[in-house]
Subunit: 244 residues, 2 copies
DNA sequence: GCGCGGTTTTGACGTGCGTCAATGTCATGG
DNA sequence: CCATGACATTGACGCACGTCAAAACCGCGC
């Protein structure tokens, strides 16, 4: 996943580090931009509709026709499924550089909401697909990306099916840290813009269990709970719990 | 997912119905063969190494280099992940027509074992990739297939994170029935070649809970437990529980 | 038939996490 | 400054599912 670095080295821009979008590359195709030449990037950008969403805004919702594809450029998006009785499972959080609705047919099957304020590049599905058809190597890249997502989903299955509350919370923190590091934020202090309810719905727990578990980790000096986030005091310890 | 039907109508063979492979199509590309012309199918078949595995044989295992791609033609394969302490999560069961190792990079991250006896077409990853590069429409198909798998994985996350034991078992039975129906076995009597331990590890439960839950469903006359399988007596009832 | 090993079922009991409810924290706004 | 409301934490308690252990079942070989 050094792809952005590649691209940035090539263009001399720092679109990877979360500050601004490239002057020549508003679209944040972190995981695939290295496969694209400059003119291809521009072509893709020309197709995109840059859009902003406020906190809690809905990008799309399950069972609705999926006529758009999104590339997140700023902020965080929660992807979730609702059961008829209101139970919710968050199936993922999308960060800058992530694609939404890529590997989809005609329905999403998943809903997406902005966690805080969010910027995206939206594409008409049809136009996007048509462009991709002209760039086979780009399609391969997208396919690899889908494989990566599938692998994350499988890890999440293990977490939900077989791990204790403590292991879930530790994996969550460590996993988030890794993802943030990959897009240029390598701090040991993690921003957690999502609510405890979101974390609980992601980890298959309740608010209370998440809260108690974090308190316990804090008591053990593994983390420090700060406003809107967490500082990892003993990342090795968390990793040990997560890898268990 | 009527694709096999399309292909079979075209070729006049009945490769879809689980009896034999097509005379002209040993490879069972259920989900993609409709995208292929006859000569393309033959080209693909020429690349394949038909292989048989006995019960419990390992097709590949997590952390091992993934140099092959598999197309299941007969039998059932369990895909699972192991935690260091031996806990196991089955992330899926592969049926005839399914691909294994498709959307993968250099490692599988997942292990695969034959449940009973299994036949597959194995491909060298490199050769397979090279062939696919010459057929962009085939790659698109594979990509759609990956999207379908991702969607199944997300459903499984909801199941593991938010559903009761009864809901898990009912969804499992109904889901398996649907998948079997799609490959031509439309009976209300399901073969369950996998052990209770497998079912438990798939559903994030224990053997005992699976057993008790099935017994309860049987007492309620929703199912009838038969040797190595289950007959669905009131599928609507199960579907109601599963959809809940 | 009988014994044997593996799997499944059943029962009695334990516990990790869920539920319910009270309390604390913090931002917002009058 | 206090009132308000949203969210997070904490505590007391309950329950669905896990654990442990004892049958029961089911080929399979002799």
């Amino acid at each position: 996943m050094q792809l952005v670095e590649d691209h940035c080295a090539k263009t001399g821009q720092d679109c990877a580090h979360g500050r601004t979008a490239c002057a020549d590359c508003k679209v944040r195709l972190h995981s695939i931009c290295a496969a694209l030449e400059q003119d291809e990037l521009h072509a893709l950008e020309a197709l995109s509709h840059p859009t902003r969403y406020g906190a809690r805004a809905t990008l799309f919702s399950q069972d609705e026709p999926a006529d758009s594809v999104f590339n997140v450029t700023e902020g965080m998006v929660r992807l979730y499924k609702l059961l008829p009785d209101g139970r919710r499972q968050i199936v993922g959080f999308a960060l800058p550089g992530d694609f939404l609705g890529l590997a989809l047919m005609d329905r999403f099957g998943v809903s997406a909401e902005a966690v805080g304020d969010v910027s995206v590049c939206r594409f008409q599905r049809k136009g996007f697909a048509a462009y991709i058809d002209t760039k086979p190597h780009l399609l391969r890249r997208l396919h690899e990306f889908a494989g990566h997502e599938l692998s994350l989903a499988q890890d999440q299955m293990v977490l939900l099916g077989r791990r204790s509350a403590e292991e879930r919370v530790a994996s969550f923190l460590v996993g988030l840290r890794e993802r943030l590091a990959r897009i240029g934020q390598k701090s040991v202090t993690l921003a957690l813009p999502m609510s405890r309810q979101d974390i609980a719905d992601f980890l298959g727990l309740t608010i209370e269990t998440v809260s108690r578990t974090m308190t316990r980790l804090a008591r053990d000096k593994a983390i420090l709970i700060v406003p809107d986030g967490v500082r990892l005091l003993r990342p090795e310890h968390l990793e040990a719990i997560a890898a268990r």
